[in-house]
Amino acid sequence: MSDDKTKVTDKASEIAKNIWLAGVGAYGKAVEEAQGRLEKAMEPPKLFRDLVKAGTALEEEARDTTASARHSVEERINRVRENFHNQRPARIEDLTALHKKVDHLTRKVDKLSKALTAQSAAKKAKLVATPARRAAGTRTSANKPKSPPAKAARKTATTAKTTAFKKAPTPSKRKA
């Protein structure tokens, strides 16, 4: 019984499909043109040779246009594909390729930064050595030797003054 049912539905879908396709079959401009040609062919025939010539010319023309049309469609599909690929987001293949590139770059950066740290360490060592010496030099040349003589001079001056002051009144007193 179920077998009959499937047979019925099969037949129904077959009919539906035929109806659908019949619509599609009616599209061709070619069909119309062929009908037109057929009607013309019913007219009293001209020279047989002329008809054959016209027929081959038509056939060749048709073959040429379909070939070039096909080519142009393929060409346009390729253009669209290229455009699409430029706009689409990354896929897994793209990502793995990108990962590899990033890994490679990371290794390079690591190498470079190692080299850089080594270089900067060497520079630091140099930099540490020079300011120490310079600092030591200024301290000895500017502060230490300059101030004690000044102090000494001031001291001698004051002592001289005081001695002079001390000394001075005595003779004036003596004079007075």
Partner: protein
């Protein structure tokens, strides 16, 4: 460029930017800085201009739509994405003649010739999208039953045909790339439930691009 071609070019630009209904032949002549008489020498009225523009459009989109019917765009499962890029191609082509889609009912009522051509175009769109879906099914990119496949193709044609007017109603005027991209995303949303995990990548990319585009405009 010849005056005749310039007329067609200017008309298309005005129809797309300003709407076809409100553009007159006088507007077209003014825009081009030629006399209405000069325009009349080349085209006897707006009808002629529109029917010629439609012919141009029909020829261009016919070529595009027949491509997947004649031969599958993708050879195997790995190349399935080609079909999605193809949707951009179709929408870009439609966008160039968007004035038709913005005012479709009105234009089809006023120009019976265009109506006939447009009906043909709709069937060609159905055939193209059905072919794509069929190929994807054969290549095991999507998993659907036949009846679902027909429904899917019809839904896609429906969205494709009315996308521009729907989008304009919802968002007003937006940058062309956003309109086209969101159209593709919308179509992909319909296919997505039938896709396996592998094929969802494109859909997810499509989504992210859209989010980025919107973020950039804000």
């Amino acid at each position: 460029m010849k005056t005749r071609d310039r007329i067609l070019h200017t008309s298309l630009a005005l129809f797309n930017e300003e709407s076809e209904a409100s553009t007159t032949t006088i507007d077209i002549a003014n825009e081009m800085d030629i006399s209405p008489g000069n325009l009349y020498y080349h085209f006897k009225g707006k009808d002629q201009i529109i029917s010629e523009l439609f012919q141009q459009y029909e020829q261009a989109i016919n070529h595009t739509l027949t491509a997947p019917i004649e031969r599958p765009l993708s050879i195997d499962r790995g190349g399935a994405e080609k079909n999605w890029y193809y949707l951009y191609v179709v929408l870009e082509e439609m966008y160039q003649y968007r004035f038709l889609y913005h005012n479709l009912e009105n234009i089809l009522q006023r120009y019976p010739d265009i109506k006939r051509g447009f009906k043909r175009l709709m069937q060609l769109k159905r055939a193209a999208l059905y072919s794509i879906c069929q190929t994807l099914l054969e290549q095991e990119v999507i998993d659907a039953r036949d009846q679902q496949l027909l429904g899917l193709a019809d839904n896609m044609v429906l969205s494709l045909t009315f996308w521009f007017s729907y989008e304009a109603l919802l968002h007003g005027r937006r940058a062309p790339q956003i309109t086209i991209h969101q159209g593709v995303l919308q179509l992909m949303t319909m296919v997505a439930p039938y896709l396996g995990d592998d094929e969802l990548n494109f859909y997810r990319d499509c989504e992210s691009i859209y989010i980025n585009m919107i973020a950039e405009t804000e």
